[in-house]
Subunit: 314 residues, 2 copies
């Protein structure tokens, strides 16, 4: 059984002559003008795979835009245009009304404009393509991490995965944490201010869609480096730690937070920006030269290959 990455590698990863960066990052990059690149990315959300059937359509609409915004931000870019393709079994006015309101609410937050799309009959599925632009100097690739870079991560880890367990009534958490986790799952809200403020001090980035370990590993493979993670510093809620659910934070998908790496000498600058702008950004480790991913004080073995894979054995 092939994974998503093996499928892309084997059947679809052809080198592009015209693009600056083709398949293999959060977005492709191609020339915009002397100073800037276009960044373009696409993501599909399928019912029962990416969202539960009883999810509020407003939140499905929001999330369809937000997961794409997350891809663009993690390239250091700013979102500009979106195309929205919807397959739906029948034109349900109530559903469409709520869905479109959620989609446009997210577009408004990130100053994103819908300029095209396709509406067709089919099993409920939403595909968004997003275009943004980025100053060439600030473009962040997975392959840019340098040895001794600090590793930073936005927001909190594992909330979306916890939200999914709560939605499926597999676990019970406090009502505050339940609400926060369901929000993280259904209404991800990547913080564009972090990217705007600190991307120019960073060397690489990736958004967390498959899971922290899995996505960090994409940076390590692409950059041909290793990493050391300070387990105690990871932004994980007390409840998750107390309930021994750290795997949700390490391997859970759908976080839509961003992992960034930045030179050590930028640490003070970044810390000042965090304080000044009240950014939710945590230093969690360091890039190393030994091509391994190590987590200190974590009692289990780090399973590099794990992480969310749609076609994985479950």
């Amino acid at each position: 059984m092939k994974t998503e990455f093996e499928i892309i590698e084997k059947y679809f990863n052809k080198k592009s002559k015209r693009a600056i960066k083709g398949i293999g990052d959060d977005a492709a990059l191609f020339e915009k003008d002397k100073k800037n690149y276009w960044a373009i990315s696409t993501d599909t959300l399928n019912e029962k795979i990416h969202f539960l059937s009883n999810t509020d359509p407003f939140r499905i609409g929001w999330k369809a835009a937000a997961v794409n915004v997350s891809d663009i931000l993690s390239m250091g870019a700013s979102p500009l245009f979106a195309l929205l393709s919807i397959s739906l079994p029948k034109p349900n006015s109530d559903w469409l009304d709520k869905f479109s309101k959620g989609f446009f609410a997210c577009c408004k937050k990130y100053k994103l404009e819908l300029i095209g799309g396709d509406t067709t009959k089919g099993v409920l599925s939403i595909n968004v393509t997003i275009l943004g632009d980025v100053n060439k100097k600030n473009a962040l690739l997975r392959s840019g991490a340098q040895i001794n870079d600090d590793i930073w991560v936005t927001g909190e880890l594992g909330l979306a995965a916890l939200g999914l367990e709560i939605a499926k009534q597999k676990v019970m958490a406090t009502s505050t944490l339940s609400k926060k986790s369901l929000n993280a799952l259904e209404k991800p809200t990547p913080d564009e201010r972090i990217i705007e403020k600190i991307s120019l001090f960073c060397n690489s980035a990736i958004d967390i869609s498959d899971g922290f370990i899995s996505d960090l590993n994409h940076i390590l493979v692409a950059s041909k480096v290793g990493a050391k993670i300070y387990f105690q510093d990871l932004p994980i809620s007390k409840w998750i730690k107390n309930n021994k659910k750290e795997d949700l934070a390490l391997y859970g998908g759908d976080d839509y937070q961003t992992i960034l790496t930045a030179p050590k000498k930028m640490r003070f600058k970044i810390e000042r920006l965090i304080q000044k702008n009240k950014l939710s950004l945590t230093r969690v480790g360091q890039i190393t030269n030994n091509r391994k991913l190590l987590i200190d004080h974590y009692e289990k073995e780090v399973k590099l290959k794990k992480g969310y894979d749609h076609f994985g054995k479950k």
Copy 2:
């Protein structure tokens, strides 16, 4: 029950501030540089809706690229980049191998490069986003038709719809016509040379995906004009006429031919180009000022609203 167009109009058609042309044409247009626009479009193909389950995966791959190429060409633009999103129930190597070969064969023909995408689990569905560029002077909108323009159409009408009837074993045709019709349905091959040679002499264009009448009507509504069609001149096979299946040519979907309108004074120039380059392009009518669509010598009433609509009553 709302149609596809009503859904887009009611829920999704918000005016874009940054794009030159947003929702409502075959592709959106936005600034590329002083001389050129980017054209961007997206189309979804769903199993059982857009292709039969037993269709050769090579042809599904080809068609997924070709229907998007058709949108870009009908803007007068040249295809450059594609993003491919596939939802599939399980990673079937044989299917993926054939599908990807078909997709890349079509990319090669139209000099299109795949630069991104998404692979995920779900009911079989393929979405392609395509980017092309067009000289600002040559961009063809639905809204550009002028009174007295000649109406031109590429290729033959109704073959894809006939192909679908043959594939479903509803009709029997000669083996040559059967093969040709199935090719038109499953492996549409828009002629990029026509657009390259004549788009600069034209005022408007649209690709035929919903049906000749339905798509011509989109030009008429957008341009606030009418049209007179010379029924005898329409490029329809003798078999279709002899078997009284003209409705396939007028209302059948999936042709992926292009309707173009051009000033009368360009007629001689266009005819010379047709002859010189052996283009399959036929003059079939004229734009009028009476806001009606008339077809001479056609025995039935022209049903303007008909045409392929996914959510239509069938």
